[in-house]
Amino acid sequence: MIVDLPSTTTAAVNRKMVELRERGGAVALGRVLTLVIVTDDGDPTEQAIEAANDASREHPCRVLVLARGIKRAAARLDAQIRVGGDAGASEVVVLRMYGPLADQGASVTVPLLLPDAPVVVWWPGEAPAVPADDPVGRLAQRRITDCAVARNPIKALAQRRASYAAGDTDLAWPRLTLWRGLLAAALDQPPHEDVTRVVVAGAADSPSTDLIAGWLAAKLDVPVTRNRADVEGGLESVRLVRRSGEVALARPDGKVGVLTQPGQPERRMALQRRPLRDCLSEELRRLDPDEIYQEALDALPRIRKGGGPARKITP
């Protein structure tokens, strides 16, 4: 069910939600957190809401969408409440803020937070320079950004590092989870030799490639070189050099991963870019500070820039 409340206040939104629950029994399940999605007018808001609805099936939550509208207008708040089939296992409140109100997202958020439940804020588009200092970001235990959609993803990742505070995370990180799992599983197998050198390659503008290089540098404490690869986007390969040879995980076509190890047959598996909802679900699974992500960020300056084909211009 979708209920529109044009030109309204948060008190009216709250009243309406209680009314909907009493009247229709349109109740969300025992909710575990409030997810605040901050977007600018013109961002693909619906896509983010859809991902949040999917994630809510694993983590029942209240979703507040703060859509910042045009600022040169009179202050106004339009709200839309979605419950039941239109909201997955969550309840979604879309709040469109115009005029001077557009910058006052926190004031609109506070009255609608679930009592005593953690708050997660997610910027599916451009994120503030210092998420932890953002008025909405300050309300949250967990702040999710996405370097990959920034105008300059590599710069954005550097900015994430500079502004890191406990509770920050970036979707470039869960996009690596399967890669990291496969690499760790490969090292589980004998021979248990030390890795002496690492080479990673990926698209010039792939923050995930930098981040996995950082993670490997932090964990293995060996020289890590980051090369550019001529691929559509994202991470292309990771090579762990050991005395007996190379453990290499590569994804030349962006779909199928190939694991090669000395003296063993090539092993293949599907290794596609993870869909947004899977990444978001993973982020919502744990809300404590992610020290491993922090270590990976901290190790970024230790990565050696290698060569590769000329920088591809991405549209």
Partner: protein, 512 residues
Amino acid sequence: MRSLTDEWTNPLRDPRDKRLPRIAGPCGLVIFGVTGDLSRKKLMPAVYDLANRGLLPPGFALVGFARRDWADQDFEEIVHESVRQYARTPFRETVWRQLAKGIRFVQGSFDDDDAFDRLAQCVHQLDEVRGTSGNHAFYLSIPPSAFPVVCKQLARAGLATQRGDQWRRVVIEKPFGHDLMSARELNAIVNDVFPEESVFRIDHYLGKETVQNILALRFANQLYEPIWNSNYVDHVQITMAEDVGVGGRAGYYDGIGAARDVIQNHLLQLLALTAIEEPVSFRPRELRGEKVKVLSATGLMEPLEQTTARGQYVAGWQGGQWVQGLLEEDGFAKDSKTETYAAITLEINTRRWAGVPWFLRTGKRLGRRVTEIAVMFKRAPHLPFDTTAAEELGQNALVVRVQPDEGVTTRFGSKVPGTSMEVRDVTMDFAYGHAFTESSPEAYERLLLDVLLGEPSLFPSNEEVELCWEILDPVLDFWESAGRPEPYPAGSWGPKSADQMLARTGRKWRRP
């Protein structure tokens, strides 16, 4: 080379890194009985779902073994169909194509030496082509009567021997025997070929999220532990009710009956998890140790003619449909004594549980399909209300709803809105969001992955299985000598004797 005592740790693994998924090492799975229902509806889809979640190792191989005259492609087609129909995660062509490359089929019967030699050859080839590295799990989705011959064949063809770092594991399904004697024989046969740590006995209930949540509910909270004992608990009811009959399953069910089919495994496991003391950690050894402790303290309350009940459904209206009775079902003898309903009373002789009766019941063709654990608390010792005010107040209860509608319900007294003080029962529900979703793994997925990882926590050990038979055997013997099961109409909640069984102690069954 490092010495053996200097244990190697993987530098990429970090206990703080909670995102890192558990991906099994290189391995393959061989399924015996691929034409069966379980294999088509559960196992093969679970394999695909695991692949789709990225939890299977690169180069994973799936081998089917059956009598059908199929080529690899025919079997691939069967797997494809079952994945399309039953998988929980969306179908992705890339995932499927990679999985399909590792699918093989070996045709033969269990007594055919040649077929097992071909299987050995096939497995060996997979090690070379796919890189399964000599690690293989054998899933015996076949009747237990075939276990001895298959185990012997596996041993004969050299498939059961593990060399060096390689592993070979065997997965078996219930029934694990039909009494203590036969269970011991079965264990001996299997253990003759596979050492106990390589045997995984599947009880799919233990793979369910709600069942694992019993441990979280009990041991992660301060709220329940203080009242989780005989000072506060009046009794516990564990119910597994099914609305289906046993038509079409006569070959398996006739002579087995409800107690062996369900109480011996599922219900006693649920009892163990509800009753155990806090394990010092969740390591497999500790958890299994606690379960063994509580099961070894568990016994039947006597006299059995008053503390047990059994029944057999007769024709009746169930959920708007006329269904036939057990004796009319195909394949059952007209004088079959097989019980389709069984209820027993247990006591646990520990300080925590002394004096608390545990009522376990299960049945076919009951009112609806439901599995739940209801912990019923004692009444408050004194009620400071008028005698009429709290008349409607029942016992407080905590109910773990295992399936369907997974969750937890608490029942307590609350004021009836109005100007007078009256109290009645209300319920508070916690529901799992995942009930509607594919995002959390299905029981078989979880258990298959645990087999490939060699993680035995969720599998009952040999000792547990034998203890459960020790508990149940006296009832089975008693029923054997005590006439026929009592008829109950399909669609009801069981025979009258079951109600009397509780009424004698001043209690009654919850309507689940």
